[in-house]
Amino acid sequence: MIDNGRRLLAVGSILVLGLLVACGTGSSSGGGTGSNANCNTSQPTQGVTSSQITLGETLPLTTAGPSPQQTVDGSQAYYDMINAAGGVKGRKIKLIARDDQYNPSMALQQMRNLVQQDKIFAVAGGQGTPNFLAQAPFLNTQAVPAIAPYAPSSELGNMKYPHVYMTSVNYITEFQIMTRRVLDNFSPKGFGLVGVQGNVGDDSKQGMKQAIGSSGKPLLYIPEQPGTPDLTPIATQLKSSGADWVFLILTPSDTGGLLKAMQRIGYQPRLAAWAGMSDQTYIDQFGDLSQGMIVAQELALPDASDPDVQKYVQQFTKQTGRAPSGFNNSLGWSQAELTVKALQDAPALTRSCVEYALNQVKDFKTGILPPITFGASERQGVNAVGLVQIEGKTVKQIASFKSV
């Protein structure tokens, strides 16, 4: 290194010099513009032809179980129905769903594919928080509207990302409402929370703390690393804390594993969990370990008596020849429903006009989500969750949609 150090040093200094010349100093923000209240009917556009509107989304199709594909199926069923009836403004809707493997950089890459290769008009739907968060800045710079991505996060749903229209509540809200419900109805002695470590767990903890407030009930928060091979320590920590209510926001597999560990050490607290656990696939497999579990409900149950819900179930069944299979089918359908409404209401098929239409959405009932309302500076369209309980091989409604 020493004898040739001078040569290396020379190369190095050329590097630095070149850089200083090339880059100047400082940095600039590549961020998009804030307001988009105006509809520009002559805005140049892509992804719209005289016969087709191309939309895109990314989901963890290959690494997160069958659920994301069911979401795509739900959306596709709705678009098929609309297309069969003549489409939107005389154009058929084409949905491209790309796999992001739940990996942020892969997600960003695939979003580039969608916008720059597939030339999509807008983002419709999608599923997963970290993967969507990686795409959000890119969507900002490209000013591509993103309609109803399922990405619960306190980062989204505000004017930091003005082109993103959220219909999923964040986990702060979700866990606050659930905790309040338990406090009001079950006089708990103490709470435990096991959450995926990082922002998801932290948001959930924050929501629970807000609900617990000054009631003085203890809360033990255990952040968990996904894929922990032995869950006995967590189960034992919960048991020794004396918590009689345990809240969970984990992957389905770690949820199942933790419940098994609790069973092995004879610990049977009451359980509450994030919305994903009301999925039928989970209940079919782990229902016996999850009896009585309270689950946050972001989407209406298909068996509800509400006429909007009934209309959805009928349409879905007519379109696909089977009943919707729970959370993900409904989620996909609702994402497509809001997207089609925005396209239909838009004065013209340009991005700014679709956003103009989204800004006008008020109390829009999908029959699946709580009523959706956006505004000129309102990007969080939904603020309410309901509660269901796992009983037998199904879930039962115990509280209707309620906002914070």
Partner: protein
Amino acid sequence: MRIAASIVVMAFVGLLPFALDSYWVFTLSEVMIYAIATIGLDIVFGRAGQLSLAQASFFGLGAYLAALTTTLPAGLQFLLVVATAMIAGAVVAIPTLRLSGLRLALVTLLFGELFIWALDHLGSLTGGTQGLVVPALAIGDSNSQDPTYGYMLVLFFAVAATLTAVQISRTQFGRRLLAVRDSEVAARSVGIGLVRTKVAAFMLSAIFAGVAGWLYAHVVGFVAPPTFDLFPSVYFLIAVILGGAGRVAGSWLGAAYIVLIPQAFSIIGQSNLFPILGGGVLILVALLLPGGLMDGATRTAGWIRARYAAMRQMSSNRRPA
């Protein structure tokens, strides 16, 4: 002749972004970024023979430094990245000096796990599992997230990295690396300082990775932990092994493989097939090209040349064998 060829190649590469659409310009930038980090890993693994699974961590260190120092002038950022990467390389190298083979791989892997753990747990600084947005670096009147400008920026460093690595192989230091790989005992007997050589190799490889990561952050505009965890480290290793360890051109081919193979599935409209078939493709390439991609490319070139020569000979004069 060689110089002329180089100039033609450089002109071609420099003009590429004006011929391709922005998506492919960006993808090529990615290939170059990964090539820089792969060349770095080739120094420590391909030449010095030290099996490291921490390359994505050094890569991530540079990327996160970029994300956290956006207010500093670019030159200062660069110096900071180089200095930090050097220190990080030494921090990994010094406690592992006595280790080799799979044990060394294990400890470097754990360094990587610890890095990810720290990213996840320093949420207020690093954005935690949600990652960080990196504002574009101003370049003249444009910025690093404009595909063409980003490409030029990356190209500059990729050329510099390639020249540096080629230069290293011609130096005494380069020969010492090979000696350490082939036999530590023999290397020591001819007076090569094992400690100095190994630590220097790690530091150099960390600098390459750190600079690549720094470029990645500025060009991509987003950093999150999964880009820098165990799997990317394994992929860097695959790039070196598959490309042909110890050869700079091999590193380029390896980096092109890990970036472009997923794209190839995407081009044929089957991007969802990549996770299913990617492993199979890897097996096939390894078994069919036992000398690596570099060897495969050389042999293909040789085969074409032989064919060409044979054809010329056949047409010019037929002589009995």
